[in-house]
Subunit: 324 residues, 2 copies
DNA sequence: CTGTTAGCGCATTCAC
DNA sequence: GTGAATGCGCTAACAG
């Protein structure tokens, strides 16, 4: 790789001039400019981003911390964010945290060490105190960390209520819930929404823990239907578990949605790969990623400050696991 | 962020000494070492990786070029590679190429500009000439670029033959194929395997193009079954299309596997989320990623050279869309 | 054992 | 308009 020095020598100018034409900054005669450009082409020169980062204290890289890219929710999100940041010349620094706070903090450090320009974080355990020392702009996705940290989320409680109400409106009598992990706040909100609706309607509550996972949810469904044979609807804490519930029903020979209705939460692709296709509360994943990225870029460029907390609406996608 | 200079001043030593304790390199008295360590702690110092990269010409970052992280095949792969590289202190630089050669080359440049230490590439269009100028170690995944570029792959042709033979052995008479894109070599190999087996057995050939996508494959299946009602088996060029084919059958009320058998290719998670679960030729995705990462790290550390071409075996996972 | 110094490649003053 | 000089934070000779 050629350096700016070599280009300067080749073009018979100083490195400062080369720098000027590269960055289109400051005055430079047209003649010398073309001379430099030719030199750049001739030597196949590319500016070294590491040296540039060192000087400017920014790297043109955006960091992402997600629990696990293997979880079908995140690829879409990462992709959305990337689509808007690459257009501005940023590249992607990806970190899988396994929902482990220690790893998250370790990665945050790595980012600081690399002059990462901004971070998008999906985390269930992080809070404002962990970000206090960090000089880097941050946008929280999927969960609000603190009023001082800008965020992009949905209203998990209200939208979960809507899911349950959809089942109620479809005439379901005995509605069960397969819940997500205890230590994930969104999962708890969705569960509480279910409980509250049932309470208000004076209906019995049937809850089984599914850990946000397909296999576990399938077993949870077996348990549920074994103990309580007349359950006629299930609201699962996420779509992955809805797939598990559906599989359980299929194995048990239960007709969905005629005998039992299912509604999920999230809007991931899996809901459309299975048959019957799963009714769900769809988060506008792509839009959310896009918005988070835009907010982050604005903050990086100093165009925007303060603490926006964007709450996106969801869409009830009525498909084939509910009757209407 | 504190710098090495500040630490040196705080500890009353030179920056060289600080550097020595950070890197555990060279001799340093125990006393001064503890003094430095205290200073580091007191100032909450973290070495700046950008400055370090500039000097050492390596960044402790591994680059990935994949067509699209949204494609369910890649998250597992990226994750596997990451698992072994993070353990060695590397971080992840992720690039989605959309299977677009121009983007791939652009990202390759970005990597060079950032002193990325090594690259894992999944690409259908890249070849040796594009990598010629690159100084960075590369491992190709999923496809062989050139004998000089180490690679980790499977034998697409032979394994696809095995898929078709499985259908034949199950007694299927009229076997169709839903093919992937024309310009993807693996897709072509799988198609050719199908054609060759049919030819050898003097069976008719039914091919419909599914572009590696679920929706398209679903339509392709509709077309196929409309034109040729007595098809009793489908081999799809990948699992995503197998899901599409299965959905088509479900909509048509065709009993899978009794009336029609389906076998896919790849071994992605989707094959286990649907009902019936899809029989497939499963690539050991995680193992492949792990192997590729290990090869890459060895090359980065100069431990290994030459051009390994690892071909992994696959596993025929007989599930519910075929009879045996 | 420890300190001084010279770059790594670039962007930015400040002279000219 | 352009060039020379300085420093971003760090590592690796080289002295001592």
């Amino acid at each position: 790789m050629a350096t700016i020095k070599e280009v300067a020598k080749y073009a018979n100018v100083s490195v400062a001039t080369v720098s000027r034409v590269i960055n289109k900054k400051g005055y430079v005669q047209k003649e010398t400019q073309t001379k430099v450009e030719e030199a750049i082409k001739a030597l196949n020169y590319r500016p070294n981003n590491v040296a540039r980062s060192l000087f400017k204290k920014q790297s043109k890289m955006i960091g992402y911390i997600v629990p696990d890219i293997t979880n079908p929710f995140f690829p879409q999100l990462v992709r959305a964010v990337e689509d808007v940041t690459v257009a501005q010349g940023y590249t992607t620094f990806l970190c899988n945290s396994d929902d482990n706070l220690e790893k998250e903090l370790m990665y945050l450090n790595k980012m600081a060490e690399n002059y990462i320009d901004g971070v998008i974080i999906v985390s269930n355990h992080m809070n404002e105190s962990h970000l206090a020392n960090l000089q880097i702009p941050v946008v929280a996705l999927d969960r609000v960390f603190h009023e001082s940290i800008p965020s992009v989320t949905i209203d998990n409680y209200q939208e979960a209520r809507r899911a349950v109400m959809h089942l109620v409106e479809n005439g379901c009598e005995k509605i069960a819930h397969i819940s997500g992990p205890e230590n994930i706040i969104n999962s708890q909100l969705r569960k509480k929404a279910y409980q509250d609706v049932m309470m208000a309607l004076e209906r019995p509550v049937y809850i089984s823990e599914g850990h946000y996972q397909m296999k576990t949810a399938q077993e949870a469904t077996f348990r549920l239907l074994h103990e309580q044979k007349d359950i006629d609807a299930i609201f699962t804490g996420n779509d992955v578990m809805a797939v598990g519930a559906l599989k359980a029903c299929t194995k048990l020979g239960i007709n969905v949605p005629k005998e039992l209705q299912i509604i999920g939460f999230d809007g991931i692709e899996w809901t459309e790969t299975v048959s019957p296709e799963i009714t769900t509360i769809a988060q506008p994943i792509y839009e959310m990623g896009k918005k988070a990225a835009t907010m982050l870029l604005n903050r990086i460029n100093g165009k925007e400050e303060g603490q926006d907390h964007i709450v996106f609406p969801t869409e009830l996608k009525i498909r084939e696991t509910t009757t209407h």
